[in-house]
Symmetry: C2
Subunit: 149 residues, 2 copies
């Protein structure tokens, strides 16, 4: 296992799992049979510029570098302008319709952005369903998404 590969993996992990502390990374890697220590993770985090963000649930979680988020934000903006059709809320659900074939990409971006209002997200061909934490979150989320257009 080379450093480069590990870095790749860390980026992936930080996006798909909730990493609260560096030991979580160590554990995840151990699960995959990769031996590393917290010290190495600390150095990796420094190189990758991952950040520990205080989360809305009172905990903490590691995240991609803020700069990357610019990119995500930009991509989201571009995609929304290109493929957005409509958005609607119903209780804690937000339904976003896109031009056919674009929903999956949009869903991925939304997932990566990890909005705090969001609880989960499924996407089909022209529809993204976002499940928020509650009704209020759903409205806030809708406003956010609209602001990208």
């Amino acid at each position: 296992m080379k450093k480069k590969e590990r870095h790749q993996l860390l980026r992936k992990l930080v996006q798909q799992d909730v990493i609260r502390k560096q030991e979580d990374f160590v554990d995840k890697l151990h699960e995959r049979g990769i031996e590393v220590t917290q010290a190495t993770i600390s150095r990796d985090i420094k190189e990758l510029q991952l950040v520990k963000v205080p989360a809305q649930d009172g905990g903490y979680r590691y995240n991609l570098p803020p700069e990357m988020n610019y990119d995500i934000s930009k991509k989201l903006s571009r995609l929304m302008r290109d493929a957005f059709v409509s958005i609607d809320t119903q209780r804690e659900f937000v339904l976003i319709r896109t031009l056919p074939g674009n929903a999956f990409a949009l869903g991925s971006l939304i997932e990566t952005a990890k909005y705090s209002e969001m609880f989960g997200c499924v996407s089909g061909d022209d529809t993204v369903l976002v499940i928020c934490r509650d009704e209020e979150s759903a409205e806030r989320f809708q406003r956010r998404i609209i602001s990208f257009i």
Copy 2:
């Protein structure tokens, strides 16, 4: 000194000074005659969702929450579209020209965004001069700025 005020101050400090660790906050507040301990700062940071970002210089610095940066990025984008006139580099300097009266606002935004390429920044009425770390940074910085248009 109420918590609210302190939070305001922390936001200001984190933007205008380089805060490497929580003790730096404590020191800055002491300088202003405000008594606080690291524990309080830790809790404040959690509430304000400030993040400790690995910096390009090998150190660390605290920053505004990534979400806020979206805003800054958006504002920058809007202002650039509205007021941008031209941009040019010369060695490690980048000169941005804007419509009269807009340079100061643009400079402030650029300062807030704290681009790693940037060393310093002065703004007049229709001109922002950005001093980068070196020639390469200057070019990278120019590309970045252009991408906002």
